[in-house]
């Protein structure tokens, strides 16, 4: 789920931070620049450590010192095929949306929900739809009561920043993880708690 990435960048330490020890000031500037931002490699979670600092020149007309820093960051970037446990956030007619606490743009589109299924308006929440999986005679509901939902990553996309947006459009998501719950062992954990293999010949 997490990777280390090594980056090299020029960092500007504002004059107000120049009384701090150099490493602390640079780390502060790096955190402001990279933390909680999505780069092409994923969502930056934490600064792991600084490998080298060079420079420290003050450019003309500027009171700040500029350093060239090589450092490593911890990036959230799941790989395709990874199984992740998430919580239910909301669902609509297009599919489900799951959340990981720190990352909320995990979508399970309708084709990746196990079939046969149906979508019905949620009796508790007027705006939401509820997905129900019908297996044999039993019906399994996917909603807020599921404690943990496991999904497998199918795809990660980084949609480009939109230039125009409608008024009520959802906030822009720079990184979208598409997942599937259509397989053995995936979906709400409570579905699989008491189950037996259907046939031994499946192996």
């Amino acid at each position: 789920m997490f990777c280390l990435s090594e980056l090299e960048d020029t960092v500007r330490v504002p004059p107000s931070d120049l009384n701090l020890p150099l490493e602390v000031a640079i780390k502060k500037a790096l955190q402001k620049l990279f933390l909680d931002k999505v780069l092409s490699i994923g969502l930056c979670v934490s600064i792991y450590g600084i490998k080298s600092i060079e420079g420290g020149f003050v450019l003309p007309g500027d009171g700040a010192a500029t350093y060239k820093v090589v450092f490593r960051i911890v990036v959230f970037r799941p790989f395709v095929g990874e199984v992740i446990a998430a919580k239910f956030k909301e669902s609509d007619s297009n599919g489900l949306r799951l959340t990981l606490g720190f990352f909320e743009d995990v979508y399970v589109p309708a084709p990746l929900i196990p079939t046969p299924n149906r979508c019905e308006p949620d009796p508790y929440n007027r705006n939401q739809m509820r997905w129900v999986w019908k297996y044999g005679d039993d019906e399994f509901i996917i909603d807020d009561s599921c404690q943990q939902i496991k999904f497998r990553v199918e795809n990660i996309s980084y949609p480009p920043v939109p230039t125009e947006r409608a008024e009520d459009a959802k906030p822009f998501a720079p990184m979208v993880v598409t997942g599937t719950i259509d397989d053995d062992g995936l979906g709400p954990v409570s579905w699989w708690e008491a189950c037996a293999p259907i046939s031994d010949a499946e192996d």
Partner: protein, 204 residues
């Protein structure tokens, strides 16, 4: 000039062994999200524009090692993250705390470095892909059905039922069981019971 500082994150010796193991992913699950027209295979570096500030070029090596959930949790713990209610003292940002909260509910919170290196050593016999070992450590499957979503094409690779049971036995023996995530309803009941007990104690 200045090297990496040991008081931030893990020291060089600790954890790097496992980084080296998992970073050389030989399986099909390779970390190739970066569009290949940006990759310069010759120099092993990608030059690109970061979406935050488009006029800046940041040179980088995108994958310097994959981390298990446990290693990230260990990193946050070593910086002072904890479960206390006042979270202002430790130098940890809000996002890092959200990651910490998430990881504390996964099996990673009961693992140690020895456990996962031991486990990955013993997995050698089963010829699993590195990505699958990583998945197993992060998820800790407790039954065949949980394992099924992790293994890819087991029948084609010769992993039969016996091998699956062997893997599960290894998981059971080596990896500690995950924390129990309590249902929200139970928590509320417990609180009201305690409240009543306290009230009766005070009355006495």
């Amino acid at each position: 000039m200045r090297g990496a500082l040991p008081n931030w994150g893990l020291t060089k010796g600790k954890g790097n062994w496992f980084h080296a193991l998992v970073s050389s992913l030989a399986s099909r699950h390779d970390q190739n999200y970066i569009p290949t027209n940006f990759l310069d295979h010759h120099k092993n570096r990608t030059y690109l524009f970061s979406p935050i500030t488009s006029d800046k070029t940041v040179r980088m090596k995108a994958n310097a090692g994959t981390l298990t959930n446990f290693e990230v949790l260990d990193l946050l713990n070593s910086r002072g993250a904890s479960n206390d209610t006042t979270r202002v003292i430790a130098p940890i940002t809000t996002l890092e705390y959200k990651v910490y909260d998430y990881l504390m509910e996964t099996p990673a919170c009961t693992q140690t470095l020895e456990i996962i290196t031991n486990f990955s050593d013993q997995c050698e016999d089963f010829k699993l892909a590195k990505a699958e070992i990583l998945n197993i450590i992060n998820i800790r499957p407790s039954s065949t059905v949980n394992l099924a979503s992790i293994l890819e094409e087991p029948s084609e690779r010769g992993i039969d039922k016996k091998a699956k049971e062997g893997i599960l036995k290894l998981v059971e023996a080596l990896l500690p069981s995950p924390p129990i995530v309590e249902a929200r309803g139970e928590n509320e009941e417990e609180e009201t019971e305690e409240g009543e007990q306290l009230a009766t104690a005070v009355l006495r």
